[in-house]
């Protein structure tokens, strides 16, 4: 099974060069059955990463490009009158897929954002009075431009909280960029990617993640971290219990990806910035979302041995 994971990571790595840790984070997020938010500038490979994930995981895939005139019906689907049968037929929207790429989610109006975010939370949608379940597994990978860019509607804290992780890709290092420039078009490479997993394997991996062992010593460490965010004045507010659960769940997946059946502090430290940054706010920053560099401070202030 471990081979499968490593193979998956390597496969995605052929498309997204030099971003192994982000790929692992994205995978850990999906293994923890969480939704992923990728935030970065345009052209950094957000879409590439999500497409590659969909392909190698062998999931049915659709992409919704969010724009300011996108309506909820464009996401969920709508009923259309069929003149031949004289009935209304429901045409499912792109949301009825296993993996949804919600591209540039913060360009849409809050109304449309909510349509997606409700589906993420409930795993079902209600259209015209009928409740329709969504396929399983169901993942949403949303990408967004940084909030300070033009034409964006910032997601509120409550909706950011629906995403298990928020990751940033960042610029590639010079070697990877050189390879990128020399190599062939990534779209071609993407087209050649083969699925490395099927839905059953994925589901089994997810179950295994849940069984990764967490000792009392580690729980102590996690609780100390959470307590610090609640007490230290530099954080405007502390981490919620849901945030703590998310942190632990991601750490388990990370441990599994590292081929370990128990969590060590390094697992927590590896996923912590991606899991907690969008759930916290810096005291000094009244408008922003994200604790920024404070998570590094958090990690350097709380010792693994209490």
């Amino acid at each position: 099974m471990q081979d499968v994971i490593q193979h998956t990571i390597a496969q995605i790595g052929t498309v997204l060069l030099g971003k192994e840790s982000q790929i692992k984070l994205a995978l850990a997020c999906l293994l923890s059955r969480g939704h992923l938010l990728i935030e970065d500038l345009p052209g950094m490979g957000k879409t590439t990463l999500s497409q590659a994930l969909a392909r190698v995981l062998g999931l049915s895939y659709s992409r919704i490009q969010f724009t300011s005139d996108l309506l909820p019906a464009d996401i969920l689907g709508t009923s259309i009158f069929d003149q031949h049968s004289g009935e209304f037929n429901f045409i499912p929207g792109p949301i009825f897929n296993q993996l949804i790429l919600a591209d540039e989610i913060n360009r849409a109006t809050p109304k449309s954002q909510s349509a997606l975010l409700e589906a993420m939370e409930e795993q079902q949608v209600t259209i015209e009075g009928a409740t329709r379940p969504l396929p399983s597994p169901f993942f949403v990978i949303a990408t967004q431009n940084p909030n300070n860019q033009g034409g964006t509607f910032a997601l509120p804290e409550s909706q950011l909280d629906r995403f298990l992780m928020r990751i940033e890709l960042g610029y590639p290092d010079p070697a990877a960029e050189r390879q990128l420039l020399k190599g062939e078009d990534r779209r071609h490479v993407l087209g050649r990617l083969q699925p490395t997993l099927d839905a059953d394997q994925l589901s089994e991996l997810q179950n295994r993640c849940q069984q990764v062992k967490v000792s009392d010593a580690l729980l102590d460490y996690v609780q100390r971290l959470v307590l610090y965010t609640r007490q230290a004045p530099e954080f405007a507010y502390g981490l919620s219990p849901r945030g703590a659960l998310a942190l632990l769940s991601c750490a388990k997946s990370w441990a599994l990806i590292d081929d370990r059946l128990y969590v060590v502090p390094e697992d927590v430290q590896a996923v912590l910035p991606s899991v907690v940054e969008h759930r916290l706010r810096e005291t000094a920053d009244f408008s922003g979302h994200g604790a920024g560099g404070l998570t590094q401070r958090l990690l350097s202030k709380v010792d693994i041995i209490g």
Binding site: S215, D216, L218, V264, E266, Q269
Partner: protein
């Protein structure tokens, strides 16, 4: 407009503290100062809410000038004094609120708050006031804490609780400083308000003018005897002597400013005329502030050496305080109750103490001549006069009739109602009419014994006057004519003397002393008085001398520098105890056996110069160490593997055997590597 907004937590407590420290001063401040305080507080709140802005520069200048002028006017130009100084401080304190634009200004306001709180002790030093000021200090401290908290602290009560905790924690240090800090006498003093000399002893006496003597229940002084307390008939607390008589009013001879402190020595030349004959009593007196100079003591007293105490240079055996008693004043006295005073009377004194203005009170003179002619000696004459008081229908009353020009005649023959001043005055008149030197003594008589703290409390209503008569060969002898009329006054105090007429403390319905017949109330009052007495003795009266006395019972050869050393030592011992306590609680935090082993391993590695950072995980540490010291890599990795396996996989943090082995292996390797 302003970059600094004072935190809400701080502002709340700052305003509360400001109210708390100013309120006790209000009765002494001109009304408009209080109004300014209220106005500034409101303005500050408005500024905080953003409705008003800070006053401009010229507005502030106007405020300051108006404040200065106002103090000048409010105290009628008496700007050199304690109360105007306090008023000035209060005004500065509230005006500073209005220019609190930086954090620094807020600190100034808070420090001024502490200062204003302390000034309250200049006026009152009792236990309730001390507790109240302690409470104000907690409020000010809360403002100081709030100032250093971020805007996210929104629970002012928590801040107050923290301040109170700090206060309680600082009590040991406070006690050390109080007891041991080397005390020095003040370098300069500010005169206290001398208005409103309190009731009690005055330095003139004209009994005929008084229709009703109003009595004050206030404490005059407390006397603590080292031995058994003398009986009430011996408790004549002598104050001052009146020798001059103009036919109506008795006054003192010397003007205080002429006579006494011309001579720096506390005992004038005539003191050799005092012969002490035994029955020595030693006691100490805590005198309440009287704003007068008189010091009270039993006759033939010798007061403790003190730069402030002087003996009057006028043959009257009166002691005075040089500057006037403005705060509680404690002095030690040794009195010989048996004494002879001035057996040789100089002509000048004899002339003065037998002098009567001619013409007045003819009937009294006639009676004097009659009695003197029948008497065999001066002493016999005195007895005859006393018997006259006893035989006639004299009544001791606090509500005597007003007397006319020949007041002594009217009193002796017509009204025959009066209190001590009438008796003493008429008696001295009778003596002088017969050519016997006599004078009036003012002071207190009796007092209430508190068995709990072993002292005698003398109240203002114990004020008394009596006579002294000079006999050939015996000197001045105390004679109290009141005793002939109302022995209860002397034996059991004023209350029983006037029990029938309900005049006792008629003007003080709320005084505890009025309800002495309620026993439990009496007990409670005596207990509170006893506590207050210890407070006065040991806290308020703890001055450089008592400090040395107290400490020399525990330490030999105490002096200022040793005192400082002692204080510092105690201080650091206390700090050390606190430090130990803190360290202990840190170390006793429960560490599992595995964690202990791992920490030991980290310490060993730290000696190699590789310190594990806070928050550094075991594998990250392992990697760092392995890169820097490849020679140690295998053993270090073994420790790390064992540690993570036990701590995070097995979850058996109390079975550290394998880890212990790994750490030992590392230790050996590290030691050999060093060699």
């Amino acid at each position: 407009m302003t970059g600094f907004q004072i935190p809400r937590n701080s502002l709340v407590w700052m305003l509360a503290a400001q109210i708390a420290v100013i309120v006790p001063h209000v009765p002494r401040l001109p009304v408009w100062v209080t109004l300014i305080c209220v106005g500034c507080g409101l303005w500050r709140v408005m500024v905080y809410q953003g409705r008003w802005s800070y006053p401009g520069r010229w507005t502030k200048v106007v405020f300051v000038i108006a404040g200065l002028v106002g103090i000048g006017v409010g105290y009628q130009g008496r700007v050199y004094g304690l109360e105007p100084a306090v008023a000035l401080l209060v005004i500065a304190f509230v005006l500073k609120l209005l220019e609190m634009q930086h954090k620094r200004d807020a600190y100034i306001v808070i420090l001024l708050g502490y200062f204003v709180a302390i000034t309250e002790f200049l006026f009152f030093q009792s236990i309730p006031y001390a507790l109240y000021i302690l409470f104000s200090v907690v409020l000010i401290t809360a403002a100081l804490i709030g100032l250093n908290q971020t805007q996210s602290h929104r629970q002012p009560l928590k801040t107050l609780k923290l301040a109170a905790t700090l206060m309680v924690q600082s009590i040991p240090m406070m006690l050390v400083l109080f007891v041991l800090f080397p005390r020095i006498s003040p370098l300069w003093t500010v005169p206290l308000e001398s208005q409103a000399a309190k009731s009690g002893v005055t330095d003139r006496m004209s009994p005929g003018d008084i229709a009703s003597l109003s009595l004050s229940p206030e404490l005059a002084f407390k006397a603590s005897f080292n031995g058994p307390v003398p009986g009430p008939s011996q408790l004549y607390w002598r104050g001052l002597v009146l020798e001059n008589y103009d036919g109506k009013t008795w006054t003192r001879r010397t003007n205080l400013t002429d006579g006494i402190w011309r001579n720096k020595q506390s005992k004038p030349v005539w003191a050799k005329h005092i012969e002490r004959l035994g029955n020595t009593q030693s006691y100490s007196i805590i005198l309440e502030p009287t704003r007068q100079n008189w010091l009270f003591s039993l006759a033939a007293a010798d007061l403790s050496a003190n730069a402030d105490i002087a003996m009057l240079d006028d043959y009257t055996l009166a002691y005075v305080h040089r500057r006037g008693v403005t705060t509680k004043f404690k002095y030690a006295v040794t009195s010989d109750l048996e004494y002879r005073l001035e057996t040789d009377l100089s002509d000048e004194v004899r002339q003065r103490t037998t002098n009567l203005p001619s013409g007045s009170n003819p009937r009294a003179r006639e009676l004097a001549n009659l009695l003197y002619a029948a008497a065999t000696s001066d002493a016999d004459y005195v007895n005859r006069v006393l018997i006259y008081y006893a035989d006639e229908e004299f009544v001791y009353t606090l509500a005597p009739p007003v007397l006319g020009d020949n007041d002594i005649d009217e009193f002796l023959f017509d009204s025959q109602r009066g209190f001590c001043e009438h008796y003493a005055g008429s008696f001295v008149f009778m003596m002088r009419a017969a050519g016997i030197p006599a004078r009036i003594v003012l002071g207190y008589q009796g007092g209430e014994y508190n068995a709990l703290a072993n002292y005698i409390a003398v109240h203002q209503f114990d004020a008394h006057s009596w006579a002294e008569v000079w006999y050939e060969g015996r000197g001045w002898v105390r004679v109290d004519p009141t005793r002939m009329v109302s022995p209860e006054r002397i034996q059991r105090g004023l209350e029983s003397a006037v029990a029938d007429e309900n005049t006792f403390l008629a003007n003080s319905p709320l005084s505890w002393l009025k309800y002495r017949q309620l026993l439990w109330l009496q007990d409670l009052r005596q207990q509170l008085d006893a506590i207050g007495h210890y407070w006065d003795n040991w806290v308020v009266g703890y001055n450089p001398r008592t400090q040395l006395e107290f400490l020399s019972t525990y330490f030999e050869n105490i002096n200022a520098s040793r005192l400082g050393l002692l204080m510092l030592t105690t201080f650091f011992v206390l700090l050390g105890i606190v430090a130990l306590f803190v360290l202990r609680t840190r170390n006793t935090r429960l560490l599992t056996a595995v964690d202990q082993q791992y920490l030991r391993f980290c310490q060993l590695l730290a000696k190699q110069g590789l310190v594990r950072q806070t928050g550094e995980g075991p594998w990250s540490y392992n990697e760092r160490v392995s890169q820097t010291r490849p020679d140690l890599a295998p053993v270090v990795t073994r420790v790390t593997r064992e540690y993570t396996r036990m701590n995070y996989d097995l979850g058996a943090p109390n079975n550290s055997k394998a880890l212990k082995k790994a750490v030992s292996a590392f230790r050996i390797k590290a030691l050999t590597a060093n060699v």
